[in-house]
Amino acid sequence: MAATDTLLKVEDLRKTFGAQGGLFTRQRKAVHAVDGVSFTLRAGETLGLVGESGSGKSTLGRLILRLIDPTSGSVRLDGREVTTLKPAAVRAMRSDIQMVFQDPYGSLDPRMSIGATLAEPLKVHGLYNADSPALIRDIMLRVGLNPDHASRYPHQFSGGQRQRIGIARALTLNPKILVLDEPVSALDVSIQAQIINLLKKLQRERNLSYLFIAHDLAVVRHVSDRVAVMYLGKIVELADRDALYTRPAHPYTESLLSAVPHPDPYDDRAKTPAIAIGEIGSATQLPSGCRFHPRCFRARMLAAEGGARADIAYDPAGIAVPGLCANEDPPLRAHRAGAVACHFPDTAVLHRMPLTSLNRDH
């Protein structure tokens, strides 16, 4: 892959919230919301970003847009460093990278007509001119809105139409990248498919790159070329879509996939019980070693099997896990064609389950 293909390069990005203690306030614990994340996004590509709430995926999206400032690390857009830009330059950068939010109603000004909402980014960037009304009509058409409705207000539109408005607004500056933060999860099932199709159409037409943040693994699989799985502030696995969904290397990816309810009662997957892993830990109190080890079934299995890996350690809850898992934070390392942050990536258990149905598109 040529270097010019890389549109966005994120390196060791970190964001820590809190942690300041004053004269009279108690020292607060730092929240490592994003804890050393690196990835690249190529032109025309969709990178899916999945994880539970609290995994830091939305914070990551906001860091890339400089909606919040990172604690450290680097974000390069087209080779240019974004994290050190002055406010005026940040605004200019945002014509290249735009965001679509989960709740289109919350992100639209109720007192602004749709026409005005769509014109605003152009005005803010000093790009509004005589051609702009025609451009706005064209964008409205492209996202499936009736241009004659430009004088209407957000409350006069349905949820699906409002998400189309949110997408149209993100497109007015002709960006290269859209950060889509749960763009369909607030929509009705029958509308989700419309918006997903629209996003794919726009991507084809404009060679857009998407960072698609969502918790719905089936939706992410449908739209993504590659998928990154986040857990407590770190990417724990990143791989091509089909590799990730058919041969997950990280136990967290495995358990996420096992928990997706399958809408087919006759498929064996529907009867396969989810791998129970309890609830996500807290980013204020990261466990020692691998941050996933307190929930990791693989670590328990390996400890129980003993043998060569039987350098057993006991975590605070008294559960036996391999010493490596309890003491060393595994970095994201190349594994097969992707990357995984696990000391024992080749011990996947999901492939013992019936996966034939996952491979139907091959």
Binding site: A193, Q194, A218, D242, H262, P263, P265, R269, A270, P273
Partner: protein
Amino acid sequence: MTTASLQPAYVATTAAIPPPPAPQTRNPHRVLDIFGLTTAFPGDGRAITVVDEVSLWVEPGKTLAVVGESGSGKSMTFLSALGLVAAPGKVVAGKVILDGHSLTSLPASELRLLRGKVISMVFQDPLTALNPVFTIGQQLIEVIRAHESVGRREARERAVALLTRVQIPDPSRRIDDYPHQLSGGMRQRVLIAMAIALKPKVLIADEPTTALDVTVQAQILDLLADIQRETGMGVVLITHDLGLVAKYADRVAVMYAGRVVEAGTRDDIFRRAKHPYTHALFRSIPRLDSIAGEDLPAIEGAPPNVADLPPGCAFEPRCFHGGGRDDCRSIKPLSEVTDNPEHRSACLHWRTLPILVEED
């Protein structure tokens, strides 16, 4: 393609099966029986029907899934059945039999005694359903003591037992926690503990896991299924997630614009769907085994506004099957029996629907 070639071979030829009789006061096979329930709100000069002649039932120990989009009336149906519709909304017709009690003819005071004890509800958002200024123990004890004359100490012991049952770690300590001290999944467990405290015969779970992560969702629903096996309570699972329906439902009702458009066993719905909306819904969702990247067969348009429904079939404007047909535009289709007596569809043209098979 001719109509005949689309005709499924197993379709029963008896179309004119009469509608089911109104429920008897006690039917051992139906712990909750809703018949012709209709709820309306006053609108601009005319009533707006939000629940329109809905008939459903719940069998003891079984799960009925109610599927539909926002505004389809799935939550409102059960609020109506429980007498919880806020004024000026009103139940204007229908009958609800709960374990031998006719809810629609009970005074509010007696209805209140049944709610919580014989039928209880778990809602989507556990943080709003719990009172932030009381500990979870206080709230659990209140539920128990409101319905049963037990002492504080005994009520507290039962509360700890309930928290243990819903697998809250260290329950005798967590019982004194306030809701904000618990994670979303733990709060939902507390709500389930409150809902099962009085051993109800029916539990209505309204999108119980929509606010939770997928890993927690599976744990909560497996827990509910366990409790159900133990106690034999009937469960109503209100959801928009067809994956959960496939995994947990015995029977399914699909709602659209205030009406049940299709109802049947899980197999009826997943293998032999007889309503175009059900067909379209199944095809439009991405699955872990669908072909990634291709356009999804989306349902065009948006769910209708129940204040402004077309005179015929409410789904007609979005329908791939009957859309544009004169009869679909003028006749409001009644629910009728299809291939078996339990499988009903409210589509005029269900006989000519293609068989719901996945493309291979």
